[in-house]
């Protein structure tokens, strides 16, 4: 098919698959350096460690695709987590806790979406305001304590159940990633989201109800954040009001890294999946060779900056929300 022809030269290969090479290099490097790196045990730990960031990143990619930015994702994680812990302490059952957490996520997304789309408040300001409110509510509901009573057995069991030494959340996330990949790349819904991010006016004139799609993207993001919060609740068997905010930066870093690979210049889900594993493996490797815990953040920053620096012009021109 003529229309599908593309130039297969070294430059386009490097642009598309450069990060894959980096990934292979990192894995080889640490495998040689430490015998414990390339083991099933280690990889299962890497995957489990990235499940929460992966959920939040799945939410963040919807927001970045439509050309917006949501500063509240971290505080949103904390709030939804505390909603779960609070209701558990009050003696609610599994179904009620799940419903409340996902409901809270959808509602938080809806509020953000409406503030930005309908009331036309700039996205950073609107979500910053919403995020601060969420933080306040988190403190109010938790009273500053870690809520760890009565966490429903079903949730903790599912989150810690292992198949092939890998816990269930990783599988859930993998399935959801496949679903989102299909949604973004192969359905009219996904194409429309990308079109809105590229040129909202043109999308509107092409017959897309852009307001509905934009609000919907925020709601979907809220639901994925809720999933992340659920994984924290299940894995930690407690709701700690301190947890949540740290996922904002790492989730965004993962999604931004995705623009440097597979489809340069566009947020893409295969890229998110690779970045998740790459960052997880890199960090684990560093801690295995004895670098301190704080190096994780430095590592994230260095990888993101280097990837952007070596990327091509279109990739670097990506709109930052």
């Amino acid at each position: 098919m003529k229309s599908k022809l593309q130039n297969w030269n070294w430059k386009s290969l490097r642009n598309k698959y450069g990060l894959v090479i980096v990934f292979i290099a990192i894995v080889t490097f640490f495998s040689v350096l430490n015998a414990n790196f390339f083991t099933l045990n280690n990889w299962s730990r890497i995957l489990i460690g990235q499940a929460i960031i992966g959920s939040v990143a799945l939410g963040a990619i919807f927001i970045l695709i439509i050309g917006e930015f949501d500063m509240s994702l971290g505080y949103m994680t904390a709030l939804i987590l505390i909603v779960g812990g609070y209701l558990s302490e009050k003696g609610c059952g599994t179904a009620a806790v799940l419903l409340a957490m996902f409901g809270a996520g959808a509602l938080a997304g809806l509020v953000n979406g409406c503030l930005i789309v309908l009331l036309k408040i700039p996205n950073a300001v609107a979500t910053m305001g919403a995020g601060i409110c969420m933080y306040g509510l988190t403190l109010a509901m938790s009273g500053g304590r870690v809520l760890s009573l009565n966490i429903p057995k079903a949730i903790t069991a599912v989150c810690n159940y292992r198949i092939l030494n890998v816990s269930l959340p990783v599988y859930i996330l993998a399935i959801l990633m496949a679903v989102v990949y299909f949604l973004l790349e192969f359905t009219p819904f996904g194409k429309r989201l990308y079109a809105i991010g590229g040129n909202e006016r043109a999308a509107y004139l092409s017959g897309i109800n852009t307001n509905v799609y934009r609000i919907l993207a925020f709601v979907i993001a809220g639901m994925f954040v809720a999933l992340g919060a659920l994984f924290i609740l299940g894995q930690a068997r407690a709701a700690n009001p301190q947890r949540g905010p740290e996922y904002l930066m790492s989730a965004y870093a993962t999604v931004y890294l995705s623009v440097t690979v597979f489809r340069p210049g566009a947020f893409n889900l295969r890229g998110v999946a690779l970045s998740l594993i790459l960052l997880g493996a890199g960090f684990k490797g560093l801690s295995l060779v004895g670098l301190p815990y704080w190096f994780e953040n430095v590592f994230y920053g260095i990888i993101l900056a280097t990837a952007m620096l070596t990327a091509n012009k279109e990739t670097r021109a990506i709109k930052a929300g």
């Binding site: 003529k2 990308y194 040129n199 043109a202």
Partner: protein, 511 residues
């Protein structure tokens, strides 16, 4: 000292915008530069202000010194060339004095503290010098568009010693967004500059203001100077005839097969037969004051008018993205609601090809395939092969090059982008296709294909409404042309009775 430009050539991919022109602008005279869209007049301004570079062999003579090119806007400024653009660069939320300071620099102490009193005094004196009766503490948003242009001009030129450094003033369509009556006040100020012995170069679409205020005129056509000289000997009819493109520049070829596009998206070709497909009755909006017209199946209706006549608003109202206050739009027997969205309009069968490719037409970061099928995505859900086939058909019919469906849209040339956008809207199988200046900034070959697509659609019983600023385009394409002036229809020109000619459209538009 007069300003001369000699042997100026500028080339863009596929287009020679200026073909070695020579012009001279005399001291103390207002010199109008006229020409249709694409004639090269704005390119000339950009050469003189250092935005475009002419090809080798060019000479620009300012103040007796020769330059082969003006390297950048900074150099233009140093040489004493002052420009006032269409949108005066004043900032709405600042006061006039602050706006002046933004363009001009703040007066400061040695330590960098702003001397507000000095700024106030300077601004006041500047406004007084130019006889502009405004308080410098007013906010920019409070003043009218002509006052904005006046302030912009005063700031560009300055007073006293800055004034003596000014070697030329260029008004780059500076009067285009000002209502006619107010524009007169602004042009009187420009005349004052000329009276100080400075050459004033005025680029405009308004023939009437040229006849009233200018001394000399140069007419550009297709990159050449076709007339230059004093205005005293010539009349508006002569000017209009010179602005029109040469006869042979537009030829429309035969059937190109747009019906293949409809087949590719699995839609039936439009209903055969004649009869009215669109009728507009007493339509009123902020710029339109009660207009009525109708379009037959298979008819190509042209609508002409200059910027403030309502021609920028009407296409969007028809396409469902504009607002109207009262009146009726009836599409194929069905009344459209005033709160219609583009989505509903497309579904009911009326599609708009918007004029601004960058802001409204294409999603530059996505692929050609996605752009072409954006309004039709649901038809190709899980049918990627069918989608590529449809895009292949469109690329063949409209000759889009290179034929890479997966290439980023922004990487195609302007002409190919526009052809793809026309294809995108043909894919919606409209009963009525509205095109807003469909060939703006498009190379001649692409323009030909777009014309062919329009005529072929009409042959297939689609009702066509074309808005255009180029009279020769409408004369070639249309069976009937209506002329809008200040929001009302003033003339209707028909092919049957011989009133539809390039000259008649041009005369009614510019007059």
């Amino acid at each position: 000292m007069p300003i001369q430009v000699k042997n100026i050539s500028v080339e863009f991919p596929g287009i020679r915008a200026l073909k070695g022109i020579d012009l001279e602008f005399q001291d103390g005279r207002m010199h109008a530069v006229l020409g249709a869209n694409g004639s090269g007049k704005s390119t000339l301004v950009k050469v003189m202000t250092g935005i475009y570079k002419p090809q080798l062999g060019a000479e620009i003579i300012i103040n007796g010194k020769k330059f082969p090119e003006i390297k950048d806007p900074n150099m233009a400024k140093k040489l004493g060339i002052r420009v006032v653009h269409q949108e005066a660069p004043l900032i709405n939320s600042l006061t006039i004095a602050e706006s002046i300071a933004v363009l001009h620099g703040y007066p400061k102490t040695r330590f960098g503290r702003i001397l507000w009193k000095d700024l106030q005094r300077y601004s006041g004196e500047l406004l007084k010098f130019w006889d502009i009766d405004l308080d410098s503490n007013m906010l920019v948003r409070q003043i009218s568009s002509s006052e904005r242009s006046m302030v912009a001009m005063a700031t560009a030129i300055g007073k006293d010693e800055e004034l003596s450094e000014t070697k030329a003033l260029i008004l780059d369509e500076a009067d285009a967004s000002i209502p006619e009556e107010e524009a007169r006040r602004f042009l009187a100020k420009a005349r004052k500059v000329a009276d100080l012995g400075i050459p004033v170069i005025m680029v405009t679409h308004r023939l009437k203001s040229v006849m009233e205020t200018c001394d000399d005129v140069s007419i550009l056509n297709d990159g050449n100077v076709v007339f230059t000289g004093p205005l005293s000997h010539i009349g508006p009819d002569f000017i209009v005839s010179k602005m029109l493109k040469s006869e042979h520049s537009i030829v429309v070829d035969d059937t190109i097969g747009v019906d293949n596009l409809w087949r590719a998206v699995g839609a039936a070709p439009p209903v055969e037969g004649s009869g009215t497909v669109l009728s507009v009755k007493d339509l009123k909006s902020s710029r339109l004051h009660g207009i009525s017209f109708s379009v037959e199946r298979g008819e190509v209706l042209g609508i002409a008018g200059i910027t403030d006549s309502g021609v920028t608003e009407l296409p969007h109202i028809l396409g469902g993205s504009g607002k109207w206050e009262s009146g009726q739009i009836v599409l194929d027997g069905e009344c459209l609601k005033p709160n219609i969205t583009p989505k509903q309009a497309i579904r009911k069968g009326i599609s708009l090809v918007p004029s601004d490719r960058f802001r409204q037409g294409g999603v530059m970061t996505r692929t050609l395939r996605e752009n072409m099928l954006l309004p039709n995505e649901e038809k190709f859900f899980l049918k990627p092969k069918k989608a590529y086939q449809a895009v292949d058909v469109a690329m063949q019919v409209l000759d889009v090059r290179p034929a890479y469906a997966d290439q980023q849209f922004g990487k195609f040339s302007g002409g190919n982008q526009q052809k793809a956008i026309v294809a995108k809207w043909l894919f919606t199988c409209p009963k009525v296709l509205v095109l807003d200046d469909p060939t703006y900034g498009v190379d001649p070959a692409a323009r030909m294909k777009i014309f062919a697509a329009i005529q072929d659609s009409a042959r297939n019983h689609v009702g066509i409404v074309v808005f255009s600023t180029e009279p020769e385009q409408l004369a070639t394409l249309c069976n009937r042309v209506i002329v809008l002036q200040k929001g009302v229809i003033t003339h209707e020109l028909k092919r049957e009775d011989g009133t539809l000619t390039r000259e008649s459209i041009a005369r009614w538009c510019y007059a």
